[in-house]
């Protein structure tokens, strides 16, 4: 069923893709940075799990929070997680397509709802944390 074109047999020239392909375009670089930020998102999630495991032991909990290594991790992870979250939310309108009759709901509104939800959940968590602290 293949639609073969007349070519000189075996003489099609195939251009190799260099390992530096991701430096060729700005969108590729942005993509690679977004992928790399995953590592920090993962590292921070691990940190949180360890922190939760120390919840019963106040001294160990404080020691972990005050550890210079982990403070450094958090300082690096914060911008990485923010970059990851913002680029993630900006992409949601591509995935969530909502129609109202014949019209598409504006992508800005869909991303906006995600930002509002992000802010609201953050405020709620902060509220719970400050009540308990």
């Amino acid at each position: 069923m293949a639609n073969e074109q007349p070519t000189i047999a075996g003489k099609d020239y195939v251009r190799a893709v260099p390992n530096t392909w991701w430096l060729q375009r700005k969108t590729y670089v942005t993509f690679m940075v977004r992928e790399l930020t995953c590592v920090f998102v993962g590292a921070y999630a691990l940190f949180l799990l360890v922190l939760v495991s120390k919840a019963g032991d106040a001294a160990a909990f404080d020691a972990l929070l005050n550890s210079p290594v982990l403070i450094t991790l958090q300082i690096i992870a914060l911008p990485m997680v923010l970059f990851h979250s913002i680029t993630w939310i900006n992409l949601t309108p591509k995935v969530m397509v909502v129609f109202r009759g014949e019209d598409k709901v504006s992508p800005a509104l869909i991303a906006g709802v995600n930002y509002v939800a992000w802010a609201a959940i953050s405020v709620i968590i902060y509220g719970i944390a400050s009540c308990q602290g």
């Binding site: 074109q5 000189i8 195939v14 590729y28 591509k94 995935v95 019209d103």
Partner: protein
């Protein structure tokens, strides 16, 4: 030479040449072409072909961004050469290459067999849920049902999205942006009933799951089809189908 000739502006066109009957490796050939404000790269290529070098091979047809034949790399960017104006590059030279990630047959002509076969694999055509005789009339559809897939009907099969996709570059077995967007076009059509057959081809690793959402396909698409969006939406559908089959294994 008349004085008026000396002030005529020209531009350098560096063109990828590959003549399989003469050479094993491609080369670049530079042509000095007239600079005209209303000329596009395709006009300059036709000028070369008509007046300077009849051996130069390239595809083109409509000259108005509809046929999808004249896609090439213009200074490293996948472009329809009928829509790439010289004035946007002047006075710098313009480098014209065949669409990247595709095998080159000759000069600027790529081998598109792979894409054509993928279009067939994803069954990019309408397959009515229930065939009915002509006497029963049309398969009717509301404007709201049309709106759901209309964007994907804009695809002109120009393959610029494949040349923007590093996944396709590294893994040519990837079904790729346009073929998946076109599969989605028919899957979302209320008259169509072949989504399950298409799912077997596109809901697998070489299909939608190969996509890492670089998103460059949507950026270069001259028709704003947004194939990256189509692929992510298909991922959501595939995931929902998987959960449904898990929760209700007997229901088809």
């Amino acid at each position: 030479m008349a004085a008026s000739d000396t002030v005529k502006k020209t531009m350098s066109l560096e063109v990828f040449r590959y003549r399989p009957d003469e050479e094993d490796e491609p080369t670049f050939q530079t042509y000095e072409v007239p600079y005209k404000e209303d000329w596009v790269v395709l006009d300059a290529l036709n000028y070369v072909k008509d007046t300077m070098d009849g051996t130069l091979s390239f595809r083109w047809s409509c000259r108005m961004g509809v046929c999808g034949s004249c896609g090439m790399m213009v200074n490293g960017e996948p472009k329809l050469t009928c829509s790439a104006f010289l004035r946007d590059y002047y006075p710098d030279p313009i480098r014209v290459e065949p669409l990247t990630y595709f095998p080159v047959i000759r000069d600027l002509v790529i081998n598109m067999d792979d894409f054509m076969n993928k279009l067939t694999e994803v069954q990019a055509w309408l397959q009515p849920k229930e065939e009915k005789p002509v006497s029963e009339g049309e398969y009717r559809q509301t404007p709201a049902e049309l709106a759901k897939y209309k964007q994907y009907t804009m695809c002109i099969n120009c393959m610029l999205c494949y040349s923007a996709c590093p996944v396709y570059g590294r893994h040519p077995e990837f079904t790729g942006p346009a073929a998946i967007a076109l599969a989605q076009r028919y899957n979302l059509d209320s008259r169509d009933g072949a989504a399950d057959e298409r799912a077997e081809v596109i809901f697998k690793h070489e299909g939608i799951w190969g996509c890492t959402f670089v998103g460059d396909c949507s950026r270069v698409c001259p028709k704003h089809v947004d194939p990256a969006g189509a692929i992510q939406q298909a991922k959501v559908t595939a995931t929902q189908d998987w959960y449904k089959s898990l929760l209700m294994p007997k229901r088809k």
